[in-house]
Subunit: 338 residues, 2 copies
């Protein structure tokens, strides 16, 4: 595992360059730029505060991974930018809507190195902005002739809401704890990766079988993404994360490294962590225990296994150069530092 | 103007009976009952709190006016229940979503005589439930083959969000104050009545011209509905309203009766009301001033004018018995007491 030595903005730049290279190689970079422009153009409102908070949110330096998945999946079928751009824009709007509302529920003070919307404006603006972005996402799909597409997005949106209300409550028995955790991150994160991949191949004329395979790849990739997120929350510095490190432990949120560590280490401090009762100053000690018990390494292994399972669903496309791009993105998801 | 002499539940029953009679006369009562059943069936979730809070919200005794408008509008074209039921269910889900989030923003303690969702559960549940209901509404429209329909709903959803963030800030100059007020209630309320009427005629194969006419009727009816709501907030008792009376004045919300009264009465107490600085105990005094200055009667006149303008858009359907039902509903909107 790499250690944090450079700042958030520097790693942001590096990882964006890396992702752009992947897109360049399959000739999708220009289209990605066009999606970015369309996305920014969508945040128009007669209401000044929505316009400002919308632009602040959408231009906050996300990596647009989900957009890439839509375009790459579309490239496996009959690629038409004018069809693919709508789910591509919509996925990012829906993602933004869910982040704004999640940050509100979680009382998060910062994201991607900047104050969250409810901190910069207020809670009412964050509530309204989330609704507004959700509406924009639906608008983006309204003219899409394939009725499957909006179904994918609505499924994801419903699951994300349910994910927010279904916490992990235990670390043992381990199989039940893992089931809770995978349900939680499936709802919270993987369903949107799934929707991105499904909608991309669907607008490119993909069969139901192709949609199912891409969806399963996306879902597994999303699981891996969230596992890595949960690992990084423990092992990276605030400067790299763009938000306070060790946040999950302070908030009493049980994630995979803790579940896996608790299976081999029954110490009092980990029991406190499970109960959500760790004083802030002891969080580094908890992380050291989790690391010593192999919880971090084991979680990395689980994420790698998700990616491997996901890529197996793409076997029918192994000779397409989009496959290589998917594999490179999957690799990036595992290797990323924030 | 009638005075409040009976309780909320009794007037609820009376007005629901009256509306049911209107539907019986055009043979839509059974379909209304079926929409009600479908609506309740939709509130299914793997998450217990969403299921409970969803049922609580959807079964809270609303009058289902918007559903009636969908069905009646559909009846002007080629009526098919299996097509019309989707926008009918969706309109009520979207309405419920917006009420839950509005109550959250407005810190409302009660609605329709019952504690609001964020009071009964908490703010996080209210936020999630609104998102969930919004998602259910989108789901309901996902399989609708006419792409216009979801466009109508998305337009309404966006406007409702903007309405929540665009308060009326002045009472003079009167024309500007009225423009602010009509924009506010247009966004907040009339757009959803408009969407109901548009979608009903559209699923019944209505032309764009028919959709436009029905939409304009719905919009005017929605304006009238909100003007009456704002009047009732001043003149009805808490027992009848199901929420505290005089709430708008206490919250510093400027509505039409105040704007119209302030045009003829420059007294200090009304200036305080405009500034949102009326102490709770002086609210009855403010209402007496507004009434004495003719603000209530003048607002009733404006609402009547909206209804008249709205019905004029339906002139092409004057011989259809749906027209009579629309007129009866419009009459109910004006005469209603809560």
């Amino acid at each position: 595992m790499q250690q944090a030595t450079i700042s958030n903005s520097a790693t942001s730049r590096l990882s964006r360059n890396h992702l752009n290279d992947i897109l360049q190689r399959v000739g999708l970079y220009e289209d990605m730029v066009r999606v970015e422009q369309e996305l920014i153009a969508r945040i128009e409102s007669r209401t000044a505060v929505l316009r400002a908070a919308g632009a602040y949110t959408v231009q906050s330096g996300g990596k647009r991974l989900r957009v890439m998945l839509v375009l790459l999946a579309a490239r496996l079928g009959t690629y038409q930018f004018d069809r693919a751009k709508h789910p591509a824009v919509a996925i990012e709007l829906l993602h933004a809507a869910s982040l704004v509302h999640d940050d509100l529920v979680d009382h998060a003070g910062s994201r991607r190195g900047r104050a969250t919307v409810h901190m910069t404006w207020d809670r009412d603006v964050a509530l309204a902005l989330g609704d507004f972005l959700f509406g924009l996402a639906a608008r983006e799909l309204a003219d899409e002739p394939d009725p499957r597409i909006i179904g994918f997005y609505v499924h994801a949106a419903r699951c994300m809401v349910e994910g927010e209300l279904n916490p992990v409550t235990m670390v043992e028995p381990r199989d039940q704890a893992e089931a809770q955790y995978f349900r939680k991150i499936g709802y919270k994160t993987a369903v949107l990766f799934e929707a991105a991949c499904r909608s991309g191949i669907a607008v490119a004329g993909g069969s139901d079988a192709a949609v199912a395979a891409l969806g399963q790849f996306g879902y597994e990739l999303g699981l891996a993404f969230q596992i890595i997120d949960d690992i990084l929350d423990m092992v990276e510095s605030e400067a790299v994360l763009g938000k306070p490190a060790g946040n999950d432990l302070r908030e009493g949120t049980i994630t995979l490294p803790l579940i896996l560590a608790a299976a081999v280490d029954q110490s009092v401090i980990l029991r406190l962590a499970v109960a959500g009762n760790v004083p802030a100053e002891r969080v580094p000690e908890v992380i050291a225990c989790i690391q010593a018990a192999g919880g971090i390494d084991a979680a990395y292994e689980v994420a790698n296994a998700c990616v491997a399972r996901g890529l197996a669903y793409l076997a029918p496309y192994a000779t397409n150069d989009s496959y290589e791009a998917f594999a490179a993105i999957a690799n990036h998801v595992i290797q990323r530092r924030h």
